[in-house]
Amino acid sequence: MTLSNSDTNLEVSVWRTRNGTGLYETFEVPAHDNQTILDVVSWIQQNADPTLTYRFACRVGMCGSCAMMVNGAPRWTCRTHVNKVLKHNRLKIAPLRNLPVIKDLVTDMDPFFDKWVSAGGRHEPTRTRHDPIEEIQPANEQRAAADAGIECINCSVCYAACDTVANNADYLGPAALQRAWTIVNDEKHGDRQDVLDTVSAAGGCQNCHSMGNCTALCPNGLDPLSAIAGLKRATMRQFFKRGN
């Protein structure tokens, strides 16, 4: 089989919004040896139905904007090979779970980013530009813990995979909590105490049931499950130290 010609077609069901609800519409898409889910969606938009709405930007797994539900699981579509997820020559592509749908495959990611910010994800500096740069040892334990979560691209795959997010609207979710754990371990962050307080309120890290969908599905191989366990330990230690 060559790259350009194909004898077989994939049967691709795509979620389309119609009159406030939606339905799956099926397309025949030429199969190729090397083909990503995003290639398939783009082929439909360019060759079958130009009104299909989807979101992507970088196409190389950097920007975190193209995640969708593919055959039941959230995936970054630009780097998910069709062969990895194909079942009986069929693909079922839907917008990310746990987020409101705007149109077709595009979700409103505001709740995801709002929780990211409300979990204390914004950096508070300890020094101004006039101060000398603080020296951080890359090998120290705290820095290693911060580094472990720093490659998050905000794709929301973990948020869509989490059943606790699905059932508990207040729960901050794996990405926001992993960010909080990064900040708590960042010696250059000015208000680490505030982050610990935020993540131990209602909706915080204590709601996690360690089902591990986040770590199992993270496309960058990060481990929010362990980051949240770290927050549970840190908030508990603080509770016994302060007595409240």
């Binding site: 606790t164 059932n167 508990n168 609207a169 207040d170 131990s200 309120a201 209602a202 909706g203 915080g204 204590q206 709601n207 549970k232 908030t235 508990m236 509770f239």
Partner: protein, 110 residues
């Protein structure tokens, strides 16, 4: 839905129950041999301060643990929150604790 205090209550009651459940499993395997009878159970437990304290603390911890566990399930399945959820949690605790305390007094006292 859990905050830090409820979470700690849930985990601490779990830790307290580790030795209790371990012994309870052992006693069950031992006591089931040859069938159960009231005289056998009561002969072991009645008038024993050890079993009174053992089952008494077990009842307190398990009532708390079960009430908080049910709270989480009810919230995640029905979306119930606020005062009603709190009432269900503490109401559940009271029911578990009352029935448990009655059982402990029945098998260890008199």
């Amino acid at each position: 839905m859990l905050d830090l205090r409820l979470y700690l209550a849930q985990r601490l009651s779990a830790m307290v129950m580790v030795p209790f459940v371990f012994v309870h499993l052992g006693v069950m395997i031992y006591a089931i041999q040859g069938g159960l009878s009231a005289s056998e159970i009561l002969g072991r437990t009645q008038g024993s301060l050890f079993w009174f304290l053992f089952y008494g603390m077990f009842v307190v911890a398990s009532s708390l643990h079960a009430a908080i566990g049910l709270r989480v399930i009810v919230h995640e399945v029905t979306g119930l929150r606020g005062l009603l959820l709190a009432a269900l949690t503490w109401g559940g605790f009271v029911v578990f604790f009352f029935l448990g305390a009655r059982a402990v007094t029945a098998v260890t006292m008199i």
